[in-house]
Symmetry: C5
Amino acid sequence: MLIARVVGSAVATIKDEKLNGTKLLVVREANARGEPTGKPLVAIDTVDAGVGDVVLIASGSSARQTSLTKDRPVDAVIMALLDSLEVDGEITFRKS
Amino acid sequence: MLIARVVGSAVATIKDEKLNGTKLLVVREANARGEPTGKPLVAIDTVDAGVGDVVLIASGSSARQTSLTKDRPVDAVIMALLDSLEVDGEITFRKS
Amino acid sequence: MLIARVVGSAVATIKDEKLNGTKLLVVREANARGEPTGKPLVAIDTVDAGVGDVVLIASGSSARQTSLTKDRPVDAVIMALLDSLEVDGEITFRKS
Amino acid sequence: MLIARVVGSAVATIKDEKLNGTKLLVVREANARGEPTGKPLVAIDTVDAGVGDVVLIASGSSARQTSLTKDRPVDAVIMALLDSLEVDGEITFRKS
Amino acid sequence: MLIARVVGSAVATIKDEKLNGTKLLVVREANARGEPTGKPLVAIDTVDAGVGDVVLIASGSSARQTSLTKDRPVDAVIMALLDSLEVDGEITFRKS
């Protein structure tokens, strides 16, 4: 799964009907410190994430395995809110 | 999902029969301001998008989860028309 | 879908039996003018394409949605032969 | 499959319920010597791997084919612990 | 499918039980001359390939469509042994 930071949100009135009721967040891939390094992507939120949260993103068909995203035309889902990351014996990120 | 801008269209007379009745649009991945940054790709339209629109693209098997694209040999679908994007507390894109 | 140009062909006598009867073409991703820009890949042909043709490629599980490729171990299929591409109001490619 | 080195771990209290009971490891893609070269990603462990181990990662829908990850919203799984790698006739990695 | 050259092999004693009986080869993506250009990856062999062979690799869910790899947690399979490649009217690779 990608480590990503939530940086914003997207609004789309006209969309496939299977997207109704989903929350679209803008995320950017992040490093082990939770700092955004990637380009903006849009993912469906399933864990009530907000701007600034560091999260995990599942992509592709795996993005449709949550109860909220099943059978929907979405290829990226936020399926976990990270509390902390430890790399090489160091806590590189901790949710404040 | 990728943020993309619709930049044109494609015509293909000879194609897999499962593609009949689909509209092929040329899109380019875009930044949070909706400005195209990526190379041209072709996606199936499901939201009546037009040139200049900023849209979301679902890729891979997820592209086959709309009623229009089910079981078709397509790996990219436009499944939402963006009204606006907000990043870091700023409205970076608004549909004009 | 990727825009690609057919640049050649591949021969493989020893292969998974599910590949029997398929035509293997070498393609390179192309720009909106149909000029090859990418590295050589191999795709299954379903539209009787030939060298020089500009085509669309569906990848991943979507490559198995044509009647010819169903259940086969292939991840790239040529599913449309492009007649033309229009980008930013200009015809950038037209089949000659 | 990607060759990767386990470099750490991730903790996530709030997550999709289908992730309960899984162990989240931080991995980085590695070269044939097992030296990390890629960015940090998070994968589900199925082989009791630990920091420093060199492993194989299966991605996408294939990540859901282990008994532990079936139907879960995960797109990367550690499904093998490497003992050794041989490239061009040389043992490039051996588990110590 | 990717064009790749087999450059070595991998040994993994501890692995998901669904991997038992599979042969793990190290491959590198190759150009149309069969020369390796990419980083080392691991793929399941289904065509009795050996070091030096130039092969085709199917990735993702397509890697699970051979009788040998069905339902296994693998995302890359060698499903054809290339005899030759022809690009722009020239034989760029021929198996020796």
